[in-house]
């Protein structure tokens, strides 16, 4: 009996391809609702465009067009002036999951797994059955290539439906066009908001956006200078997990353990390598020949060994001046403050925090503070509640900084708060990459950034509110005088209007003194 069942089961058991897996688990990547699917598709395409431009040091010019076909079906076009993609790679990049160069490197970048854009292609094909159209051109002297692609989900291989050479009046760039099932909404989690925030975090990019209601927005660049390029670094031994460690050991080109440690990790020199190997009682072996126990021993020894923190000059911040300029362009506030913190390290990964606040002006008075979160210059629109940035904001006492706050709630006041985390590896809570995980080192840095901005904001608010109150109070004296005169007249029996007139004279004569007066509650005159 048992044997038969086992045989039956064996027939059903087979490896499922990554494509099949993600078909069934698309929520893991953020494609769980029609609204979010629309956003994710735009987001993946725009992220790719920005990364491609930066890599080739091109000032990005990106066009995003959303067209409504029916209420639940949309056509999305994203076009950039990036370096383009060579013909042979186009199908793999767009129609093969987990294809990409970023996965094995540690470098501050938007995408990490190479899942994004091909996931959109898969989603398009699943919901509409349509193929994705790509045009790409790498140089004015080369032709543009046009592809229509789908994914062969069983084998995770591109299915090429059309492959042509076409004319395209652009020097270089890539254009992607997809049709998906989706839903267009306005508000905090909309595509409109995503584009707006992306422009804020990427002040060197020009983004033109046409939404389904045919409203056109052009976000002009604030600067012509491209940001400092993020440098690729090797993993730090304290930031790696055992699984990846084993994989690195397997993939290494070194033939000795010492060589492997020195070449494939940052901050390990010959001395450290020898010390680690001695401690782990492993000498000179071929990394591929270690057994499980030895591997784990080596891994654990590495974790225990003191190793210099990784280099932190590999990060590319937005820059506090630019962040502030971006805010000024998008918001009519009364006061702006921004800072970029020095880099720090969590679990062997360098990161840095930037923060900016816009206060007053046209920002609504009595609502809660609006929090805008960025990770590696990508806006985070979902899962605000589960994000370390949000936790840090709630855990900060905003009252001394002039905002209202009850308990550990979101502070209230006319303010927009922007927090950006840049890192070679942003620890997200899930694959949909919408919330930063709660590492104490990260939360500490965010809070320090918030406090630094907060103190400056508080200073401004106190100074200005005080000035405003002073002006109002000056006017009050005039109204206080008749009241005081009447009471003194009642007490003394002297004529009321005489007292009133005399008081008015005193006010007129000393008005400047009175307003400049210090505001000690009571002046002590003598002991």
């Amino acid at each position: 009996m048992t044997k038969v069942i086992a045989e039956e089961l064996a027939k059903k058991q087979r490896a499922i391809s990554v494509s099949e897996f993600f078909t069934k688990n698309r929520h893991l990547l953020g494609f769980d609702s029609p609204t979010r699917a629309l956003l994710m598709t735009v987001k993946e395409a725009v992220d790719n465009s920005l990364d491609a431009c930066l890599e080739m040091k091109i000032l990005p010019e990106i066009k995003v067009i959303l067209k409504e076909i029916t209420e639940s079906r949309f056509n999305i076009v994203v076009e950039d002036n990036g370096p383009g993609i060579i013909k042979q790679q186009i199908p793999n990049i767009f129609a093969k999951l987990l294809y990409g160069s970023k996965f094995h490197s540690l470098k501050q970048s938007r995408g990490q797994q190479g899942l994004g854009i091909s996931m959109s292609v898969l989603y398009s094909q699943l919901t509409t059955g349509k193929a994705t159209k790509i045009i790409s051109k790498i140089s004015p002297n080369k032709p543009a290539h046009y592809y229509e692609l789908q994914i062969d989900t069983k084998n995770n291989e591109p299915k090429i439906l059309k492959d042509q050479t076409v004319d395209w009046d652009k020097d270089h760039g890539t254009k992607i066009e997809l049709e998906i099932e989706g839903k267009y909404l306005k508000g905090r989690q909309s595509v409109d908001e995503y584009i707006k925030q992306t422009a804020m975090a990427n002040p060197y990019a020009q983004i033109t956006y046409l939404n389904p209601q045919k409203e056109k927005q052009v976000y002009k660049r604030v600067t012509e200078i491209l940001p400092k390029e993020a440098r690729e670094i090797k993993p730090h031994p304290h930031g790696i997990e055992l699984g990846n460690f084993i994989k690195m050991m397997h993939d290494t080109t070194s033939n000795t353990l010492s060589g492997f440690l020195q070449k494939d990790f940052s901050r390990i020199g010959a001395g450290t390598a020898e010390a680690v190997l001695k401690e782990a009682k492993l000498q000179g072996n071929n990394p591929r020949k270690l057994d499980d126990k030895e591997t784990e021993k080596l891994f654990n020894t590495l974790q225990k060994t003191q190793i210099m923190s990784p280099p932190t000059d590999c990060l590319s911040p937005i820059g506090f001046e630019l962040l502030e300029q971006s805010l000024k362009k998008q918001l009519e506030a009364e006061y702006y403050v921004s800072i970029t913190r020095k880099p720090d390290v969590y679990r062997g990964n360098p990161f840095l925090i930037e923060c900016a606040i816009a206060y007053g002006g046209n920002i609504p008075q009595d609502s809660t503070l609006r929090l805008v979160r960025f990770a590696n210059k990508v806006p985070l629109l979902y899962q605000q509640g589960g994000c370390a940035i949000t936790e840090s904001v709630l855990d900060t006492n905003w009252k001394p900084y002039g905002l209202q706050q009850s308990g550990s709630n979101m502070p209230v006041g006319p303010a927009v708060l922007v927090v950006h985390m840049a890192s070679v590896w942003v620890p997200f809570t899930s694959e949909s990459k919408e919330a930063v995980a709660h590492y104490p080192e990260i939360i500490k840095e965010i809070k320090l950034a918030l406090q630094e901005c907060g103190r400056k904001l508080g200073l401004y608010i106190r100074k200005n509110i005080r000035a405003k109150e002073q002006r109002e109070k000056a006017g009050l004296f005039e109204n206080y005088i008749p009241e005081l005169a009447s009471s003194i007249s009642n007490l003394s029996g002297d004529n009321k209007s005489e007292i009133e007139n005399d008081l008015k004279k005193i006010l007129k004569k000393h008005i400047k003194n009175i307003l400049g007066e210090n505001e000690d509650e009571n002046q002590q005159v003598r002991e």
Binding site: Q470, L476, N479, D494, I499, D502, I514, L515, E517, Q523
Partner: protein, 360 residues
């Protein structure tokens, strides 16, 4: 006579301000600073009084103007009351000056504590007590015992007032004692305990006077205690919960309070003794099961009180604080009820008083 003095003081205040204004000077009030930084403990009279630090409050000052106006408004209300021979409660006084100043959004007062404070300021400025300014606090507290008094022409017998006893008015200056037949006065923090003792006819059996308040001791009660203590030399025993707040009630009656330091020894009764509940009572009467754990506030308050000048060097009291800390707990008077509803009146109090088991 008294009325005249009050009226004159207020008129002087008005004349003084009027003169300053005529001379083109920013009108100012100078008075003794009330507050922690200007409190002196007089070891001779054993009472808190104000030091010599003075404050000046001027009208043409952004921070002072409203308070200045409040004080003068209150003075004006007081003058009218005295003239009409009427009295107003603190609440009345608040409503008399509460109004919006024309052309502004500012109210002269928004909350009663503001007018209460203005009255206290006026007391310091004029050297007159609240009662002399014709302001009365709310009635608070009950008294029973073999005492006959006359109050505004009415004769009142404290032993014949049913279950409620006589309500103590805020001003007891004008009452006259016609007959006082008691060996001592028992003052307690809680009305519920008073009711118990009254129902058990404790004052009759023990030949004493029982007085209660609801929480803090009001001025009227303190003055009544003081008059009975001075005029009839009656010893006073205090019964409160075993906690920092209870100890403070005792401390206020004996040594005075920071808020009323300007009244100095007029309010303090250095001869009062603390009857209970003490740490030893808890042990002796087996109240251990009815302890309540100290919270952070209790501990903080205890630490403050421990360091009061008059407790600091008092071995008996320091012992109490030490034991409370050790127990990590407090107890209410009502814990005694665990031994029987009338245990307090039939055993606890008679025994304590007989043994003269007091703290000083």
């Amino acid at each position: 006579m008294k009325t005249n003095k009050s009226e004159n003081n207020l008129k002087e205040l008005g004349k003084d301000l009027s003169k300053q204004i005529k001379k083109g000077k920013d009108p100012s009030l100078t008075f003794t600073l009330r507050g922690l930084t200007n409190i002196v403990f007089d070891k001779k009279t054993k009472s808190l009084s104000l030091g010599n630090k003075k404050l000046m409050r001027t009208f043409f000052n952004l921070a002072h103007a409203k308070k200045f106006l409040q004080t003068i408004e209150i003075a004006s209300v007081s003058k009218n009351l005295i003239k009409e021979e009427k009295h107003a409660s603190l609440r009345d006084a608040f409503y008399q000056i509460k109004r919006t100043i024309p052309n502004t959004k500012v109210n002269i007062v928004d909350e009663q504590p503001e007018s209460d404070k203005a009255i206290e300021d006026l007391e310091v400025i004029t050297g007159l007590s609240r009662e002399q300014l014709n302001f009365n606090a709310n009635k608070n507290g009950s008294v029973a015992g073999r005492v006959v008094i006359s109050d505004k022409g009415d004769t009142i017998d404290w032993s014949k007032l049913g279950s409620g006893g006589w309500s103590i008015p805020s001003n007891v200056e004008d009452i006259k004692f016609k007959k006082v037949n008691a060996k001592y006065i028992l003052y307690m923090e809680k009305a519920a305990v008073w009711e118990r003792l009254h129902e058990d006819k404790f004052w009759e059996k023990q030949n004493c006077i029982i007085i209660s308040s609801q929480g803090q001791t009001t001025r009227g009660i303190r003055r009544l205690l003081q008059r009975l203590s001075e005029e009839y030399k009656l010893p006073i025993y205090i019964l409160t919960d075993f906690d920092a707040w209870g100890f403070y009630i005792y401390s206020v009656i004996k040594y005075g309070s920071i808020a009323l330091a300007h009244l100095g020894s007029k309010m303090t009764i250095p001869t009062v003794k603390f009857l209970g509940i003490t740490a030893n009572d808890i042990e002796h009467y087996g109240l251990n099961k009815h302890l309540i754990k100290l919270n952070d506030k209790d501990i903080a308050r205890m630490k403050q009180i421990m360091d009061y000048e008059w407790f600091k060097d008092n071995k008996d009291w320091q012992e109490q604080f030490k034991l409370m800390k050790k127990m990590g707990a407090k107890a209410e008077i009502q814990a005694l009820s665990s031994r029987g509803i009338s245990f307090i009146s039939e055993e606890y109090l008679p025994e304590k008083i007989k043994k003269k088991d007091f703290l000083d």
